[in-house]
């Protein structure tokens, strides 16, 4: 629904702000005070914002008309009449969240507070971008169709298994960043923009998981946290002073490239300690008979991946335990260096290897506690994430919420009541609608080729 006030906001003047800008700025401030729980009555808003009673009343009326604020509840009386509670309407719209990793994809839906309402995860293969995008579209359609009460979709936030270098000048992306080989031309962002007509954000899975752990996991309330994701690639995220740290260009935590040495071999941490190494060593242990558990899988022609090695280790298989321990000691060595420099209060290990067994955690703890200065480890906790891939979904929701309600973005859409009407978003959608799909959908396979 187009609000007549929108037109006044289409062109932002230079120089001294005009009345419309001032109104938008005060609306943003009042909304964010309420949204972030810093004020929940008119009196508190007046006190916290320094706006007068008339302005607060006017802004709340406007925000109420836009469906962003609700004043139906009453607070606790402190003598006299109970004050009306001012609450943020987190049910005003929904945000779809997606996580992609090397072998799975997940989709969820969140409210405007960033709380995850439902989620689904299934196997996926990033090696086939077009099929993957088709499936993502189908899952987004499915999850949106299950929202009978709230139909407005205000964004799609995606976490991907690779670094995403953002363009600070671009508030709404229009094209797919080159986060993995073959994905820069995949048309992921363009397809979602065209089909769902809503903003899209992309962030690295490490960044999203760090945010998720900070908002819904062990990291809640922590001001200094190091998050390490283990998998095919090994990456880290950092929370400093209670906020995610992005570095100079958003390339923070790419520790997988660092060289490490073990058994006379030197290679990158990814290559020496990631799931590819675990899988290769597991197959070797199966072939030589060093691991009886893995040899049994081999004899039955069952697959041996890092997952099987982790499970065998958890069941007590000595050879598998040694493989995971070696990986943990190498990762622990790099983490110890980071911990010695940054002095975090919490280190969270996540990712497929950390999730399926405690041996990696034990090896990392042993190394970090063994080589770091006692002052670094005195109060340091090293834990395993309990969130699984949900951390990426929850983090993606937080990233979208922060982007939507950042004052610099919010002031340009708040008068219209929906971010879809943000001037730059309107341009992004127009651009997406003009573009044609780059790749046609994959042809159906022959009937004999049944796939899972």
């Amino acid at each position: 629904m187009q609000n007549p006030k929108t037109n006044a906001n289409q062109e932002r003047p230079r120089g001294r702000p005009r009345g419309g800008d001032l109104v938008a700025a005060s609306l943003c401030e009042v909304l964010n005070l309420v949204r972030l729980g810093q004020a929940d009555t008119r009196q508190e808003i007046e006190r916290t914002s320094a706006f007068g009673r008339a302005i607060v009343a006017d802004r709340l009326a406007t925000l109420g008309e836009l469906g962003l604020i609700d004043e139906a509840g009453t607070g606790v009386a402190t003598g006299g009449r109970a004050p009306r509670l001012v609450q943020f309407c987190k049910e005003r719209a929904r945000i779809v969240v997606i996580t992609l990793n090397q072998s799975a994809l997940g989709v969820g839906i969140a409210d405007l507070s960033g709380q995850l309402l439902t989620e689904h995860h299934e196997p996926g293969d990033l090696a086939e971008p077009r099929a993957c995008i088709d499936r993502i579209s189908a899952l987004v359609r499915w999850i949106v169709s299950r929202q009978a009460k709230v139909t407005d979709l205000w964004g799609i936030s995606i976490s991907v298994p690779g670094p995403v270098i953002a363009n600070p000048a671009e508030r709404f992306i229009r094209t797919t960043p080159d986060f993995l080989h073959d994905w820069g031309n995949s048309g992921l962002v363009e397809t979602l923009l065209r089909e769902f007509q809503t903003p899209v954000w992309i962030s690295s899975s490490v960044e999203a998981m760090t945010m998720g752990e900070l908002h819904g996991g062990t990291g809640q309330g922590e001001t200094s946290m190091l998050f390490v994701k283990t998998g095919k690639r090994i990456g880290a995220g950092l929370v400093a002073v209670g906020r995610p740290y992005h570095g100079a260009s958003g390339a923070v935590g790419l520790i997988g490239q660092l060289p490490v040495t073990a058994d006379g071999q030197t290679g990158s941490l990814d290559r020496m300690a990631g799931t590819d190494m675990i899988e290769a060593q597991g197959r070797e242990a199966a072939a030589t008979g060093e691991s009886s558990a893995l040899a049994e899988l081999l004899s039955r022609n069952l697959p041996i991946t890092a997952h099987e090695v982790c499970q065998a280790a958890q069941m007590g298989d000595p050879a598998s335990t040694a493989i995971i321990s070696r990986s943990g000691h190498l990762i622990g060595g790099v983490i110890a260096t980071l911990a010695s420099m940054l002095n975090p209060s919490l280190i969270v290990l996540a990712g497929s290897v950390a999730q399926t067994n405690d041996i990696l955690l034990a090896a990392v703890r042993e190394t970090v506690y063994g080589v770091s200065h006692p002052l670094v480890t005195r109060d340091l906790r090293i834990v395993r994430s309990q969130m699984g891939a949900s951390a990426a979904l929850l983090g993606a929701a937080s990233i979208a919420v922060e982007a939507l309600f950042a004052p610099s973005v919010l002031r340009d859409w708040i008068m219209s009541g929906s971010p879809v009407h943000h001037p730059e978003m309107v341009e992004s959608l127009a651009s997406a609608n003009r573009s044609e799909p780059k790749v046609q959908s994959v042809a159906p396979p022959p009937p004999a080729a049944i796939r899972t």
Partner: protein, 334 residues
């Protein structure tokens, strides 16, 4: 058989054999005089009865007393009230099958916060985390069940057919997984098949939902119903309309098994193994009460059942001979 799906937080599955009890574990459990309650969505279905049977037997071996088995009749309100009441009892563990998602999440969190071990069956409300808010989720590989049902139905669907998907209108992990796996398999392997979906809010209204779907889609060539009890309602609707299109469903309930044995309309079933699942639930409960770690998601594979295998599968799953109606449908009785 491998597990196809992923857990509620994307976890890879752990096999039920990952949770085993040695004689010394059983002895240690018996010395503890443990007390457990079971909170079910229903206790009426064959599946629920056998799941409870599996739980109770293993708990009995371990000297753990089942203090109560509660039937929530699919009602979130009843479940919330039951969990809040049980928090006040002297219980070591509660085994619960959450009947909904967000609605019952806080009530389940309160159980864990009260220091009672919470073991979940089939569904994990969004926001609850394993190891923190609950011990473990034990379920069938529901994604695999949906895929299996699609494969079975696809064999009977002509080219360019229209198929109906009859889903459950609740945010429930197990049925969501089946629905998504079914449609995914069709999208990938039978892109010629057009899918139309309807959902029922309660088992009793599944027939009405199906009738409405059939009115809107008179050319339906097959159907998948997300579990057997509503499938019985769907079969009744088909009988009323004198239609016999192929149907697949999940769980080897008696009525759908009889239909399968008789040659239709049910032409295939992907079956859970509730007795084995119940035993895994009990072993997980005892394992955590003994202070040992448990996998976040324990999953049991499903069993694909056709007319050729229905009698033996009935015995495998229900541990009882197949009823005479099934044998008669198979022409095994003179």
């Amino acid at each position: 058989m491998t597990i196809v799906g992923l857990g509620p937080h994307g976890e890879p599955a752990a096999a039920p054999e990952r949770v085993t009890l040695l004689p010394q574990d059983i002895a240690a459990a018996r010395a503890r005089n443990l007390r457990v309650a079971i909170v079910m969505h229903t206790v009426q279905s064959d599946w629920a009865k056998h799941l409870i049977q599996g739980i109770v037997a293993v708990l009995g071996d371990c000297g753990a007393i089942v203090m109560e088995t509660i039937d929530c009749d699919f009602s979130p309100d009843l479940q919330i009230a039951a969990l809040d009441r049980l928090r006040g009892e002297r219980l070591d563990a509660i085994i619960s099958l959450p009947v909904d998602n967000a609605v019952v999440a806080e009530a389940h969190k309160r159980v864990s916060a009260a220091g009672i071990k919470l073991v979940l069956v089939d569904n994990a409300p969004t926001g609850l985390l394993p190891g923190k808010d609950y011990v473990s989720l034990i379920s069938a590989d529901n994604f695999g069940l949906g895929k299996m049902a699609a494969e079975l139905l696809a064999r009977q669907l002509p080219e360019n057919a229209k198929a109906g998907l009859i889903g459950f209108d609740a945010d429930f992990f197990a049925t969501n997984e089946r629905e998504l796996a079914f449609s995914r398999w069709m999208e990938i392997n039978r892109p010629d098949v057009r899918l139309t979906t309807t959902r029922f809010k309660a088992v009793a209204s599944a027939g009405e939902a199906t009738a409405n779907m059939m009115d809107a889609n008179p050319d339906l060539a097959g159907m998948f119903v997300v579990w057997d009890t509503p499938c019985v309602e769907v079969l009744s609707t088909l009988t009323t309309r004198d239609m016999a299109i192929p149907v697949t469903t999940v769980d080897l309930g008696q009525e759908v098994s009889i239909s399968l044995a008789a040659g239709g309309p049910v032409i295939g079933i992907s079956a859970q193994q509730p007795l084995l699942q119940g035993q895994a639930v009990a072993r997980t409960t005892i394992t955590t009460l003994l202070g040992r770690g448990c996998p976040e998601w324990v999953a049991l594979p499903g069993l694909g059942v056709t007319r050729e295998t229905v009698a033996e599968s009935y015995q495998t799953i229900w541990r009882t001979p197949a009823p005479r109606e099934i044998l008669r449908g198979l022409d095994l009785l003179t």
